[in-house]
Symmetry: C2
Subunit: 361 residues, 2 copies
């Protein structure tokens, strides 16, 4: 644990762009979250705003409201929003400056780096706090190339892919990780995004700020390191974007270089277009099509999770049942009902996998 | 044109790892190549070593042999080899130092940068020459994110993909670019690798040293810039790696974010395993399978080129005819017979595309 933190979400706590904040509110080993700063939801509980489940973490309408509240002073202020292209919005700067002046170190998961902002850099020096840029790229000399050694891993590798960005791939993976471990299946999740690092993930790397040629080496390396150190029963891999996401297709890396043995898939029920690209008329493909595409890369999908944000709650259960019948694999509603059916599917898969291995060796 | 250059290939001029050198010998607008330094092929003609076609460019066994030959002194010494992982081999250093001492600037397409080698940096300062690291990554603040503006491009976009690395995707694209222009189809190739830049390509970027999240934005940006400035009839895109290459799958970026309207495909006849991964037993899929996978991403392949390095020349024509019959599209042998059949296929495709556009608008 690095210490206490507050999360700044600039009015977005309820929307999908605050997915970094949501990840930290749901799961965190690196920071203990004391409060959220979000003008639009001042006075509420952060968990209630996020998904209706109170967490005992208050939302303040401004940084000064938090500072004068008498609440414990946090060591870190984390930017909890993910913007397209990873730009730092100029609207955030006054709050960030105020946080530095109050003695807090800043934690930033954007591509645009705080250390490239001279005014923030000077202010941080003056107040002896740190600017932590999670997505600061590593030079090639510190990055591994893919070697094929991943073949040594002795447990199944299962990525959690999805049909779009911001559908809950990481959240689903974290739920499954916890539920598997509760059931005695020793499970680790390889993080591939900045939120995974912020959550205190032990094994992983930040996919999208890695030079393209080293992405698969970094993925292999994280999986191998996890296998060598933990010898788990199961390794989950956090997916990124989607196989056909127009702004950055992703997934073949996990399927091919990450030697996936099976796959889990997250779909946003009722979402009709790729998020953020509605104006381009880019239809979101049905989950059957994406799952067939994953199969064309040699990997079978053994369970599906639904993100229900955009779906009528009354019709949800019917939709789920129909999809389940069409796909022939369990379809779970993680936020509403948990991930039991997916863990059942994983358990069956693990038994088969171990049996086949025992036969071959 | 930046000036005169020699190419250093450290005994590899004949092999596929010298593909950077081959690209510069075949096509170059940035440098005029005076000589190649390659101990194994001293005294020969560089073109004869490469593919049996003399170019009037001599090979010297060492840099000193070149320097004492009386030949014009080049301004640049280019590293002409592509190593896995882009490492600078310590064996190259003495020659690189000698080149600096002879007053030549070094040009390096490896991921590992010359400017990170203190001894070379000091020496370059002392001799007032440049160290040019082509794959030096750009910071996020200089990189564009994908916007969807690529939909504005008013001509077909056709990537040249392939079943593996080092099969001749760029070479095939360059041949087709030249042949199309000869026929009056104004054609531009978007380069996506360091050799494309070294060849003097006007539009493009270096895929594998770009932070992953910006690859598709950089691709879109290069295509858009080419369209805005040249208004060509056709844009070709140099492919990278392969859809299922284990060390770094690639291609969905070109197909989806690059809005491919059709595809050309290069296959190495007779290659049985992914190059460099033979020891892992990773079979190279047959071209039919890869072409079906490209189709699953919504793009039709309209022609195939064969790399014939690993195939028995006597049986080549039969293999080509059979593949052509199976695929139902022209299969060309670019090095042996040129790319006429592929240009024919492109011309037909262009006519259909323009007709459909005229009907819709």
């Amino acid at each position: 644990m690095d210490g206490t933190a507050i999360i700044y979400t600039n009015n977005s706590l309820q929307g999908p762009s605050a997915k970094t904040a949501h990840g930290l509110l749901r799961h965190g080993k690196r920071y203990r979250i004391l409060a959220v700063i979000d003008e639009a939801h001042a006075g509420k509980d952060a968990g209630s705003v996020m998904d209706g489940k109170p967490l005992g973490i208050p939302v303040f309408g401004s940084l000064s409201a938090y500072l004068s509240s008498g609440l414990e002073r946090a060591r870190y202020c984390i930017i909890g929003i993910a913007s397209a292209g990873g730009r730092i919005d100029p609207a955030w700067i006054p709050t960030l400056e105020e946080a530095i002046q109050a003695g807090m170190s800043l934690v930033n998961g954007m591509h645009h780096l705080l250390i490239h902002q001279p005014r923030l850099l000077d202010l941080a020096k003056e107040h002896a706090v740190d600017l932590i840029d999670v997505r600061k790229p590593k030079p090639a000399s510190e990055l591994p190339f893919w070697t094929g050694d991943i073949a040594r891993v002795g447990c199944p590798i299962v990525p959690v892919l999805g049909s779009d960005c911001a559908v809950g791939k990481r959240t689903t993976a974290r739920f499954i990780e916890a539920a598997c471990n509760d059931r005695g299946i020793r499970t680790e999740m390889i993080y591939t995004g900045q939120t995974g690092w912020l959550q205190g993930g032990k094994y992983g790397f930040i996919f999208d700020s890695t030079q393209n040629d080293f992405v698969c080496g970094a993925l292999e390396n994280a999986i191998l390191e996890c296998w060598e150190k933990e010898r788990p029963d199961l390794i989950l891999v956090e997916g990124q974007a989607a196989l056909r996401n127009p702004s950055g297709p992703c997934g073949t890396e996990m399927l091919i270089s990450g030697r996936a043995n099976a796959c889990l898939f997250v779909h946003p029920a009722g979402r009709t277009h790729y998020k953020g690209w509605e104006h381009l008329g880019l239809d979101l493909p049905p989950p059957e099509e994406e799952i067939a595409l994953i199969r064309a890369f040699g990997v079978k999908t053994i369970g599906v999770a639904l993100n229900t944000r955009a779906y009528d709650p009354v019709r949800l259960s019917d939709y789920r049942d129909q999809l389940q019948a069409r796909l022939g694999v369990p379809v779970a509603l993680p936020l509403e009902e948990g991930v039991k059916s997916l863990v059942d599917a994983l358990e069956t898969f693990l038994q088969q996998w171990n049996q086949e291995r025992a036969t071959f060796t």
